[in-house]
């Protein structure tokens, strides 16, 4: 630390340049992680928010809720099984809501995800405005607050495109999106009426739903599959991964992040290495007057540490600054946990990349200090 800090103080320009590059890398990492997180939330927030553990789907649906169709009658059986604390049916349908009123056909449309749930079940999110779903209000719906930006308010009627059905906004919820659009929670019976309006679309299943959501951490999926014929039980995380496009979307972001981290490891490693090479004569002198490899190694590593922590902190600050400027429409969500994880990853990468420099120190011959090896 003694050497490390004094060198930084005396060579501010050189170290600022490295810090700038490191800050830019950290900034990019955090922005990308925020974007990735935002996209994932947009795609699956309503399912991620569920306080649930397992999802019962139709066999052959490849862990995808939208491909699955089964009867809600299984709830009675599965809720009596061991370790099952709660079970509730869910149905999802993509739909379009008409803006404005019937007299104004040019007002436009909004895509929504209609999620049918049982009123008062553990799947119903808490409202931030208005009231929750209720069994006496068959057409009541609670919608994501982003619908306010589209001009909807409490008590408004939601006219569905291509359907005679209408819903009434009774409450607003937050952070509820599904398939990249706002979620609209409605009673499951109403959802059935809307979704299976066409004859035969329910394939003759009684009380059809897309999935049964289970609570309980130690549920045996095989036992559930055995008890309910033609079902496939997966974890909630697997069901989210099974959503169309979800894996691919988060995969591309993860890929970008991985490449960025690998490239930054190389870049920082080369910088630190060149720094050390530049100083090899100086290190030789210090070795000649008795410095151990450990002493010099520590100096290099602690310097990288100081530089990294400083750059990462500035990167985090810049990211939060950018986040506050981004428009609401941008799917950008900073998760403190992710920011901390990526900070640690960056720090570890920087330290690892300095190891090459430490190794080169051990190879410096103190004889060099004499300047003329005969």
């Amino acid at each position: 630390m003694y050497l490390a800090w004094r060198e930084i103080k005396r060579n501010r320009m050189k170290f600022s340049l490295i810090a700038v590059i490191f800050i830019l890398i950290a900034w990019l990492v955090f922005i990308l992680s925020g974007l990735g997180n935002g996209l994932q939330t947009l795609a699956a927030a309503s399912f991620k928010n569920m306080k649930a553990d397992y999802v019962v789907l139709e066999q052959g649906s490849n862990a995808s809720v939208s491909k699955s169709l089964l009867s809600a009658d299984g709830i009675d059986i599965v809720s009596k099984m061991p370790n099952v604390r709660g079970a509730s049916p869910v149905g999802t349908t993509m739909g379009t809501v008409l803006k404005g009123d019937a007299s104004d056909p040019a007002a436009g449309k909004v895509d929504v995800a209609m999620i049918g749930i049982e009123a008062g079940s553990f799947l119903e999110p808490a409202v931030i405005e208005g009231s929750g779903l209720s069994s006496d209000r068959a057409d009541g719906a609670i919608v994501n607050k982003s619908m306010k930006d589209e001009g909807f308010k409490l008590g408004d009627t939601l006219r569905l495109d291509g359907s005679n059905e209408t819903l009434t906004i009774v409450g607003f919820v937050e952070n509820e999106t599904y398939n990249h659009v706002a979620s609209v929670f409605l009673p499951i019976d109403k959802w059935r009426t809307i979704t299976f309006a066409a004859p035969g679309s329910d394939k003759g299943i009684r009380n059809p739903v897309n999935a049964l959501i289970l609570q309980g951490s130690k549920i045996d999926p095989d036992a559930v599959n055995a008890a309910l014929q033609g079902t496939d039980t997966v974890t909630l995380a697997a069901a989210i991964m099974g959503m169309p496009g979800y894996k691919e979307e988060s995969g591309s972001i993860t890929m970008m992040l991985a490449f960025l981290l690998v490239i930054s490891a190389f870049m920082l490693g080369v910088f630190f290495y060149v720094f050390t090479l530049q100083k090899s004569n100086q290190f030789g002198v210090l070795k000649a007057i008795g410095a151990r490899n450990g002493f010099l190694g520590k100096a290099v590593v602690s310097q990288v540490m100081v530089l990294s922590i400083f750059s990462i902190l500035v990167g985090v600050a810049l990211t939060y600054a950018v986040a506050s400027f981004l428009s609401k429409a941008m799917p950008f969500i900073l998760d403190t946990k992710l920011v901390i994880i990526y900070s640690i990853i960056l720090l570890v990468i920087a330290l690892l990349s300095s190891l090459a420099s430490v190794r080169s120190i051990t190879r410096i011959d103190p004889l060099k200090a004499l300047g003329r090896v005969e």
Partner: protein, 236 residues
């Protein structure tokens, strides 16, 4: 003898392909505390190898090197660096100061490498610098110092760990005559007053008058060149 530097029958070989170069050929020398000796000789004669072996930078191929009566001929690399830190003071060609440390810190770093810098160490460093005429320059950085001042800092650095042996490698290489005399006379003064065994390798014949004995190095062999009258030295 128990103190100072004692080399006995020391040889060193370099392997260059299939041939073997003898850099040091059965060198024997003994330097006692308070003695300042010079080694001169043409380049390629083995002066640097001699200094490297004496300074625990290089292990001799044959023979015995004793520092303060302890043989360093067969110790580990780690132990060698410990010996360099505690028992040897190096004054190098062109001083080789650490560019981002100020004058005081150049001295503190020696103690730092051994563990901690205490208050006494700092006081000792300040005293050394004052003694060497650097009283005004405690906080100066190497790029603010003249060649002579840098070399004086290097002398102070070599004395900082209170070593028994001082080795100087061409300490006047980059200095004009006046500065060169200043620097070497300072080394001679410190060596005598602090009772160090000192060896200076030099090209500079002008500086030999400061030394007790002068050895000449030729083709790896070290021979005594001339004896300096002791009284003359004391008066200096």
């Amino acid at each position: 003898m128990a103190q100072g530097l004692d080399m006995h029958g020391v040889s060193h070989y370099y392997n260059e392909g299939s041939s073997r170069t003898t850099a040091l050929d059965r060198v024997s020398i003994s330097v006692e505390p308070g003695e300042f000796i010079a080694v001169i000789g043409p380049s390629g004669s083995g002066k640097s190898t001699f200094l490297s072996v004496a300074g625990a930078l290089l292990q001799a191929s044959e023979g015995e090197v004793k520092l303060n009566g302890t043989s360093i001929s067969s110790v580990s690399a780690k132990e060698l660096s410990r010996i360099r830190l505690h028992d040897i003071g190096f004054i190098m060609q062109s001083s080789n100061l650490v560019p981002y440390l100020n004058v005081e810190e150049q001295l503190h770093i020696i103690k730092k490498m051994a563990g901690k810098v205490t208050k006494q160490d700092k006081a000792y460093a300040a005293q050394l610098l004052d003694e060497l005429g650097l009283g005004e320059k405690h906080k100066a950085y190497p790029d603010e110092l003249s060649g002579g001042e840098k070399q004086r800092v290097a002398i102070a650095r070599a004395l900082m760990n209170d070593p028994q042996v001082i080795l100087a490698d061409e300490p006047t290489a980059s200095l004009d005559t006046k500065r060169a005399h200043e620097v070497v006379s300072l080394i001679a003064k410190e060596v005598r007053s602090r009772r160090k065994a000192a060896v200076m390798v030099t090209h500079d014949e002008r500086m030999l008058t400061y030394c007790d004995r002068v050895y000449r190095m030729a083709d790896g062999q070290l021979t005594l060149d001339q004896m300096q009258p002791a009284q003359e030295l004391v008066s200096r």
